[in-house]
Amino acid sequence: MSEAKSSQDEEFREYVAARSAALHRAAYLLTGNWATAEDLVQTTLTKTYLAWGRIRTTDSVDAYARRILYNTNASWWRKRSNREKPTEVFEDRPDLSRDFTEHTAMRDAMWRHIAALPKRQRAVLVLRYYEHRTDPQIADTLGISVGTVKSQASRALAGLRKRLGSPAAALGLAMEPKEAA
């Protein structure tokens, strides 16, 4: 192995060591399934390494990897979405207070609804509300227009709002007015 390649590989290993946890978390939010998230990150890193020679000296390595992550996931949804179910129970520190229990239930309800969203809508939500990206940044990552980002986010939020309804409804403690009528 040449010295240059060895050096490049070492840089890549350092990048992976520094960023793989963040990529895994994002992949987990996108896929809702840890095994799929691992596959997604592995594929993302393979594709990133293919381009490593030309991106390693730029400031956009992470943006490049993120773009691959999100777009690879977009091409994966079809086969997986009907087979894999999102994790529904999260291990939190025990806290028996009523507020905490309700909050956890609300979060789990929200997560179930997010997991049911179309992949692109979910990606927009993760980028906007977890990665705190601006709409132009999201558009750049997903390779779509800013208008599409906005419309996808709007549809996702409207869908979530409709499904969650009131906090009580989200927890299954009350019926939606329309259903009760």
Partner: protein
């Protein structure tokens, strides 16, 4: 509620992410390096294949690799230069296949299967969160969760168009006198989707792409305008293009790209509420700042110039409508190999590959456009493969 929901999303997603198990695999980077090495080796083999098989046309070197490997019946596939799994991995390639019971399935890039009905598909499109399956008389959406839409009926002369991103599709039906075409635009949600939008436009123009605000058509403009940039053309009025029906379908603007010079475009401002089109169209070149500003104003959509630019870019690289898209050099080289004489020809909407093959063939020809040089290889296809999925998502 909106702010509450957004706050909940921020905190909830962060908590879900943090609740995910720790992942610390020291072999992750090396596994990626090894995987990339395998892909590179395959491409090098293609690029370096025997000199007798190397065609050089212009700047593009073209490689033909003969099919050398034997049938592998145990695996149900033909072993070729490019294996099914390589195509699945490198191109996210998916196939519509005949299953063992006489129905059809999509074989995904990860070898999983989704049933897509009992009728032979004429095309299968990869859409946002679903597949759109076009058969002889209907188009049907099959969602990844297994739900299926009601079929959208298609007459024998109708065809399907899909917009960039795969969020919507159009069923296009010529009128009985073949002077105009009826477009029925539908989203791909099996449940909860909006009612299809419809419009009818002259045969002189053909829809190529669309967003919520803007519809892009091709038309023969140059012969009428001689490339003159002006805001005085009145194509819709004088040629009865039917753009007012596009307005009635809710679009804010129309872009017409010239068939001869796609960079030459005309923009029509529509009024969806009144269901009318502007009296005249503004024409010019797609990179003209003033024209782009006019489009943004007409569409009330800052992204409309991007939609126009993408459509112009695709049209500039297209030599047969939107069926085959490639560089001229690659086309000529593929043509020299008889690539386009096969009955089945498919192009990746994202421009990564073209495939040609005949029904019942043991393997197909794959034109790999991802590398620095276009390469033709023999593609091992899965058992029962009838066509590749065209991925728009």
């Amino acid at each position: 509620m909106s702010e509450d929901l957004e706050t909940l999303l921020r905190s909830g997603l962060a908590q879900v992410a943090e609740a995910a198990p720790d992942y610390d695999d020291p072999g992750l980077a090396d596994a990626a390096i090894a995987g990339a090495g395998r892909i590179r080796r395959r491409r090098r083999v293609g690029a370096a294949a025997g000199g007798t098989g190397l065609l050089v046309l212009g700047a593009a070197a073209f490689v033909w690799q003969p099919w050398t490997a034997p049938v592998s019946p145990d695996e149900g596939v033909i072993a070729g230069d490019t294996s099914t799994s390589q195509a699945q991995t490198e191109f996210d390639l998916e196939f519509a296949v005949l299953d063992t019971t006489g129905g059809y399935e999509v074989l995904t890039e990860d070898d999983e299967r989704l049933a897509i009905g009992e009728e032979l598909p004429e095309n299968v499109y990869g859409m946002t969160d679903s597949y759109l399956v076009e058969t002889a008389d209907a188009a049907t959406v099959y969602a990844g969760d297994g739900s299926v839409s009601d079929p959208y009926a298609m007459s024998y002369d109708a065809y399907v168009k899909v917009n960039t991103g795969g969020g919507e599709f159009a069923i296009v039906t010529p009128t009985t006198d073949f002077t105009s075409e009826e477009y029925r635009l539908a989203d791909v949600l099996v449940e909860g989707g909006e009612a299809p939008r419809t419009f009818t436009t002259s045969f002189d123009i053909t829809l190529t792409d669309w967003s919520d605000s803007t519809a892009v058509f091709t038309a023969e403009l140059w012969s009428s305008t001689a490339g003159e940039t002006s805001s005085a053309f009145m194509f819709n009025d004088s040629l009865d293009l039917g753009l007012e029906t596009v307005a009635q379908a809710g679009f804010q603007s129309v872009v017409l790209t010239d068939q001869s010079d796609p960079n030459y475009v005309c923009v029509a401002d529509l009024d969806p509420e009144a269901g009318t089109s502007s009296d005249k169209e503004s024409c010019g070149y797609a990179d003209d700042q003033e024209l782009q500003a006019g489009l943004v104003d007409a569409a009330d959509d800052p992204d409309s110039p991007e939609l126009m630019a993408q459509a112009v870019g695709r049209a500039s690289n297209s030599f047969d409508g939107d069926t085959l898209m490639n560089t001229d050099a690659a086309y000529e080289a593929a043509d020299a190999e008889g690539f386009y004489e096969y009955e089945g020809q498919w192009s990746d909407p994202k421009g990564r590959w073209q495939i040609a093959g005949n029904p019942g063939d043991a393997s197909w020809k794959l034109l790999d456009l991802e590398g620095e040089e276009p390469v033709i290889t023999e593609l091992a296809i899965p058992s029962g493969a009838v066509l590749p999925v065209l991925d728009y998502a």
